[in-house]
Symmetry: C2
Subunit: 582 residues, 2 copies
């Protein structure tokens, strides 16, 4: 060992002991006859002291130390004259008796500090130096702790971690696979798994009863910001369970994680149907850290508080929906214009934004006063339960589009009003998703989750008569408006599975080719089962109060799928290509 | 939940309780007015009882149950009239009041029992049924327990588990990479990692101090029996350590694993130099469950107890080496002929086998009595410390080849004499490997471990003058003659690394192209570091007392790299190939 102690552990109680530390030079200050060097490792920082009176030679050596040099120092722990309450080791320093430079360092391209001067690109290129920064390393320490806590909880609940293969078979359904040419089986390819879905279902057929795995998955998608071609899932499956069992099990896990890692305790997580989530938040992953639920002023087959007043936009609209921004009546014209511009951006696509202020005296002032008198506006106010000081924001158009647009507006205003605090956590189960979604382009149904998701038992009879109305026995876990995971009770009955494939437009041959081994397995006694998968990268960033998953991955790829540090992907040698006969 | 209890937990203390069980029909016996059905799940087997007097209808239903049907039974726990001491639940049975068939099953292609009638091929094709067998599932349960125990130990020792990327850069050095075409970076490829070696070293540069990962690795090699294209490593690295620290840390881990999983406690593991391992066992992974060390009767620069007696084979041989098989003087002529045939097989390549019996009366009887008189043979006996009843087995030829051949013979005879018990564990550290090995074909040195392995400090000065004699600061962990893992103290000094690349015949450009990012990282303050990687599949099979790693992998591939269950690899669709522009 090059050290007797780490750089984070010495305290006043050790004063007088001779110790050996090793680490990196974080800071070196030479002042005439004295020098102070901060030595850093993963565990902390300790001050090394040099004094001309003690040793001129050592002082001179200390003066040669550059930032990030790797050094070893032997010396006595001494009380510091000027204590530093901000440092855990701030009561002491080491009076150095022996100094060894273990390795030198070039000057790093950016400062190794919490607040660095390095931009994103340079930090990614020198990721090994970026990882030396406390703030990044702490993210990965938390990731380790989360993984340990998850494994501990699930193991105690009799789950077995089983490794499923990485070199598997390509299935054209779903997202695009990464593929791997086989040299031993010429002309044939493996695929990297998008998830271990079929394997975990096979393990249930095998009687494993409770399975989990923290596992890398791969999707060759066009990358959007903060999406990685390789990502990590917490993948789980249970047998002989119903939806409630799965929800209880993983709610229990999340509670333990919050307790272990954040010290926060929770009551039962609230639940919301997909229908309500769309109706009240315009999203299947509502952020419920704040209120501002949607209020329909006009909806198909519902209320109508807007028609017949000559305002053509509302008259022609399928739906008119508002949110009440609490205490936002003080929004200036300029602020409201900015909101209008925001919802009119092509990505959101609203045609305009109507507002109505409830002034402090209770009077109402709207952008459509020309059409709606005080009495009409009062109806809106009542419907939206707006109080003096509130601001009603209203969008109109097709039902589905308007909900989507208003969701974006609600989130923006929530952020502006400071209602979306990264340190506050509001988990929510969203349940009763539709089983199928209609694909206009291909004129067919798609499975909203995947083809193995079962319908709610009470909707089973609609499978033939009205498949679009069938709700799935599926559930998503949403925290702070972010989908952390989801799952379903699976189909374990051959007849139902075959109906499902029919609805999805699979021929018998296609179903057999793609899922044959699973279908065959189901012939040999498949138990009722269901499961769930959580995005581990996303979970880590959520626990870390960050929007960026990249900060929680040791060696992430950029938006072009490149690792700029190792410069991958890269060109293969001719010999490699020849071996593969490509 | 479809059950109130598992099939393994009911005991006499629960007699009288009404319970619900769910599981698979393991066995059904209908005898006139009664029926007994064994219901099985992961946790055990419970007997269900049906009786005509209680319910004729239920009895009839029970009679329809086939093997592996999935059923749910509600009933009362009752004392069994004929108790079964071999079953944990053997004191009780369930008098069934309600029986539900959850799923039917075709008759499985082989019996789901510890001793199955299924051959290897059919069991691999129906792996999901093979996994239903107790004996296979228990292997994977042990694998889970080992992984949990490893993670617990290392986490307690401040190791952080960090996930390193799977889509990395191809390096032509070493074994063949599996490669993945990049769609977003046309003409470029990722490679799957053969090990996270460079990433773990980068993490040391990053100051992570202690890293581990239980991680999938990939090698596109021509498959030998019991080698898998994807395999799992326990990958570890530590900073500011010397060899002794690493050995102590992982010896501690192994001791805990043996204690946790096998209930066995160990003293300090013995150590052996590579030179001694080769000299005394002809192998760098000696099986020390039994003795029979090599004794040189003639060796270059050493003893010579064989020459000048007219036996040309020995006279012309560089080395004559024997082992003493304790108590084996009773070997028949036929048995000795079989040993001779064994060592003469082309894979071993000896030209013959000489033996010398020490009879019960102390007289010596050899196959070369024509050349060696009693006095000469006595010298051999003394050298080999052979006792009455022992059998000396002797090979001759080139030193290196003879050692290799005698190693095979020693292992065979050890097995025949019952000295290699699968339930006995003898760990051993093999140390001081050569740093380099000479490659006759390419007329250059190869790194015996990898190019980052450092020389022993005391051999540093031989790097220029006599590189072939330099010993590496490397170590292997061997258990029962199986290499479980190995590692080394790494080079962290640029100058030494550059000398090493020179010795390996890398040009500066090649070194920069292949390892540039690591070399660059080493410019910024690399700490002294070292590590170790253990083969997890092998570790599991060793703990399970089996030679086959396949039995400890949930979904293994066959010797052609195929997964016969899912039928992978397979042909890609034209659309997929078009996307990749291949």
């Amino acid at each position: 060992m090059y050290r007797s102690h780490t750089c984070g552990e010495l305290r006043a109680s050790q004063i007088g002991e001779t110790v050996t530390l090793a680490g990196w030079v974080a800071k070196a200050r030479v002042m005439g006859s004295m020098a102070f060097v901060d030595i850093r490792d993963r565990y902390g920082v300790t001050q090394l002291a040099f004094n001309e009176n003690y040793s001129k030679e050592l002082l001179e050596k200390a003066a040669t130390l550059g930032r990030e040099f790797v050094i070893q120092a032997i010396g006595k722990v001494a009380e510091r004259s000027a204590k530093n309450a901000n440092m855990e080791t701030g009561d002491i320093e080491i009076v150095v008796e022996e100094l060894t430079i273990l390795n030198e360092s070039k000057t790093p391209p950016f400062t190794i500090e919490t607040e660095t001067d390095g931009g994103d690109d340079i930090r990614m290129q020198y990721r090994y130096l970026d990882l030396r920064r406390d703030v990044v390393r702490k993210n990965l320490e938390m990731r380790h702790n989360l993984a340990q806590s998850i494994r501990g909880y699930l193991s105690a609940q009799q789950f077995l971690e089983v490794e499923t293969p990485v070199l598997i078979k390509s299935t054209p359904e779903g997202a695009r696979d990464f593929v791997v040419p086989s040299r031993l089986n010429k002309g044939q390819w493996y695929a990297l798994p998008q998830s271990p879905q079929t394997f975990k279902q096979l393990l249930m057929v095998s009687g494993f009863d409770r399975y989990f795995q923290i596992v890398k998955c791969f999707r060759d998608e066009d990358l959007r910001a903060d999406r990685q071609p390789e990502f990590t899932q917490i993948d789980c499956e249970m047998s002989f369970v119903e939806r409630e069992d799965i929800i209880q099990t993983f709610e229990g896990m999340m509670k333990q994680l919050f307790k272990d890692v954040k010290g926060i305790e929770f009551d039962a997580f609230p639940r919301m149907t997909y229908a309500d989530a769309m109706k009240f938040y315009g999203s299947d992953k509502p952020d419920i850290r704040f209120g501002m639920p949607f209020v329909e002023l006009k909806s198909p087959g519902g209320v109508d508080l807007t028609s017949g007043k000559g305002f053509v936009v509302f008259d022609n609209a399928e739906a008119v929906i508002g949110v009440c921004a609490t205490g936002a009546s003080g929004y200036t014209r300029k602020q409201i214009d900015a909101l209008t511009d925001y919802v009119k951006r092509p990505q959101i696509g609203a045609t305009g934004l109507i507002y109505c202020r409830v002034e402090a005296d209770g009077s109402l002032k709207s952008s459509v006063d020309k059409f709606y008198d005080a009495e009409a506006l009062l109806q809106w106010q009542k419907a939206m339960k707006a109080q003096p000081g509130d601001l009603m924001l209203i969008l109109a158009g097709g039902l589905e589009k308007t909900r989507k647009q208003l969701n974006e507006l609600r989130l923006l205003v929530g952020s502006e009003l400071g209602l979306r605090n990264a340190g506050e956590f509001k988990p929510l189960w969203v349940v009763d998703f539709p089983l199928l979604e209609w694909d206009e382009d291909h004129n067919r149904f798609h499975a909203m989750h995947h083809p193995f998701t079962s319908p709610l038992p009470e909707d089973r009879n609609l499978m033939q008569s009205d498949p679009g109305q069938v709700r799935a026995n599926a559930y998503d876990l949403v925290i702070n408006g972010v989908e952390i995971g989801g799952g379903s009770i699976r189909i374990f009955d051959k007849k139902l599975q075959s109906e499902m494939f029919d609805l999805l437009g699979f021929t018998k041959e296609e179903a057999q080719y793609q899922f044959g081994f699973l279908m065959n397995a189901f012939e040999y006694g498949a138990p009722p089962h269901g499961g769930l998968a959580l995005g581990f990268d996303r979970l880590c960033s959520m626990f870390g109060g960050s929007d960026s998953i990249r900060d929680f991955i040791a060696f992430p790829k950029n938006n072009s799928g490149r690792d700029v540090m190792i410069d991958a992907p890269s060109i293969l040698s001719a010999a490699q290509l020849k071996d593969l006969e490509l």
